[in-house]
Amino acid sequence: MGETVDWMGGRVFFSPFLHPASYASGHEAIALMNARFLMILGFGGMDSSTKRTGSKLLGYVVATLSVAVVTVVARSLPSSVVEPANLVMLYLLAVVGVALRHGRGPAVFCALLGVLAFDFFCVPPHLSFAVSDVQYLFTFAVMLLVGMLLTHLTAGVRHQADLTSLREQAARRLYVLAQELAGCADPAKVCHLLMDFVTKDFGGYTEIWWEDSTHALGLLAPSDTPVLMADERGHVPLFVASVMESGQISEYEDLARDGFRLLLCPLDAPMRRRGVLAVTMPQDHLEPLVAQQLASVALLAATTLERLHYVDVAQGAMLDMERERLRSTILSALSHDLRTPLTVMVGRIDALCDEVRATGGRSLELAQAIRSQVVGVSELTDNLLDLARLQSGKVRLRQEWQSVEEIVGAALAHLGERLDGHVVEVDVPCDLPLVEFDAVLMERVLCNLIDNAVRYGAKWVRVVARVTDSRLGLTVEDDGPGLPAELLGQIFEPFVRGPAAKPDGLGLGLSICRLIVEAHGGQVQAQSRSEGGARFTLELPRRNPPLVELEESLA
């Protein structure tokens, strides 16, 4: 397909390039006519290579003309003034000129032609290839040798200049790409710019597989010209995952379409690898330095996409913060604005009750009914605010080593009069180890569960605590009506209430329980007891409490 020549330490790649149009149409003749020798010097610039092919013939013409001009000048100089041997310099000058302008071939041609012209026109006998003085043979040899040497050196310099210029062009294009990417605010636009770049520079297509927020790879901005096999789209192809894993630029020959090659390049962003760039391009373009350029493009893309990712993250965080600030502002305002009138109402109604009691009025019952309603509203407010706080997931647990017995006792004390007329059994071993949890919240869980049992008509409630090596198990069971089977699955959802519920309450208690237990990394379950009634079981993770130096051992 092409040949590679080592040239002055640089690698030059000659390759016949078929114009894409002719390639696609399949007209061999036109294709051959259009076939031009391209020199892809490392970074493969097309424009300058095309120009160079046309200038080759011109080079030979120029070489011939320069020899002719030198010969005319040589002939016009009187031989008495200039020795024929010195005329050699003029021919060598022409060789340097041709080599600089037109490269090696024309320069060699120029050197040979120069020797012949010098022999024919300048060395006696004139207008003959015969040589009168044998010394001239030596002159010819040196002339040819110096000409070749000059050709070699000059052409080398020329190629270095070409290479540098091509590299500069490639660097400029990369720079332009970098500039465009820097102004990019949308991943789809990044894909579009890359596609443009790869199409222009490599004549290929590209697509980007990028990690989303859940670290799953997905196609970023799918285009009409899929790079990877159609049936592979939609889910992550294995080889994309493997490049993601290895971090190596990899070529997949089997997967490419005919005449194309497929290259997968990891997108290593500054923080970490975040995706894979898939590029397909005509086969003759996959040359080591192209791969190098591809790596630069991949780095630019990865950096840009990661920047966009972090912009997203930052904006999300800002939004979250703002939302959270608003939420807590509303919650605390609401809580303050509701609590103030409720506090005043409870206080005033209590005063009213006292007064009615003192004067022996008959509206005591009415006042007490109002009071219980106000207290109910107050509890409802607490529940709603708690639910809102817990659901936001922003509740900070104050986990300390707690005594389970103490919390159960505190919950029973908190419920106070509500347990009057109910039997509450507590089965908590007195040697139960301390367990780490937020006491205020766990007391609330127990209060809600026990209150729930009483509220639904249980006469008997039992609280049992047991530990295993890694769990604390707490059970609250009752002899109430039990749980309807159809409610078991959703009983911990907010606003779900049993059929026997009294009209007060919104059905928030159990969802608050679940949120609190889950915040502790535990779980809570509800079931009906076979002997009737309900059983709530909650489990919390547990570890061994710190040692307490007992004073006996200190003494």
Binding site: L342, R398, L412
Partner: protein, 224 residues
């Protein structure tokens, strides 16, 4: 002469309700809506009790209590909302004696006020009886139903500190500092274990204590 109570509460409605409740108990109430007003009042009159709301427009109730404790042992009752758990504990640590969470029953408020006012006048007694228990501070002995109960030195110390602060809310930090020393203020598990011991030795039902009351998340309260 009835006791004078300073009511420091920025919500005029609640302040009015509180003052009215106190007056109906034949107490003298003086309302203040801000720290500045409270300072003025304290400068001009003598008070026997202060009721302090935690959220004030010109400073925190906690600062006020700290300021007050520099020169006065006057009992302080803190009013807090359920969302002000940390502030409440800070206020109690700063020297407040008790707290009420809004909304509170009027009876509860007056009972606390009476308890706090009474406490000012009680002298330490050499022997104290509560429930089935008799504590002899002079001989450092404890009896329950005429049977001597053995308490370890730390248990006795804890009992003494709790009895000395009877009726008051004693924060975890306060108890740890008084009984174990400053190095233990962040080791509340010591307190949990030893309060458990006291309950098992002195309460009828340790799961439903009547004297060593748990103030969940805050501390303990000893009641006779």
């Amino acid at each position: 002469m009835s006791a004078r109570v300073l009511v420091l509460e920025d919500e005029p409605q609640i302040r009015g309700m509180l003052c009215q409740s106190l007056v109906s108990e034949s107490l003298q109430a003086h309302g203040a809506g801000s720290l500045a007003q409270a300072r003025d009042a304290l400068g001009s009159e003598a008070f026997q009790l202060a009721i302090v709301d935690l959220g004030l427009p010109d400073g925190s109730g906690q600062d006020f209590i700290q300021e007050l404790r520099a020169w006065s042992t006057m009992p302080v009752l803190v009013l807090s909302a359920r969302t002000q758990e940390r502030d409440k504990i800070a206020a109690l640590d700063a020297g407040a004696d008790d707290y009420l969470t809004k909304p509170f029953a009027r009876g509860e408020l007056l009972a606390r006020v009476r308890a706090l006012l009474r406490r000012g006048g009680t002298d330490a007694q050499p022997v104290l009886n509560f429930g089935e228990v008799r504590v002899d501070f002079i001989h450092r002995q404890v009896w329950r139903r005429d049977e001597e109960v053995h308490l370890t030195p730390i248990e006795f110390q804890l009992l003494s500190v709790m009895i000395a602060g009877q009726g008051k809310v004693l924060t975890h930090r306060h108890l740890l500092r008084e009984v174990w020393g400053g190095a233990y203020v962040d080791s509340p598990h010591y307190l949990r274990i030893y309060v458990g011991h006291l309950r098992q030795k002195l309460e009828i039902d340790s799961a439903r204590p009547r004297h060593f009351i748990t103030e969940t998340g805050t501390g303990y309260r000893f009641v006779l």
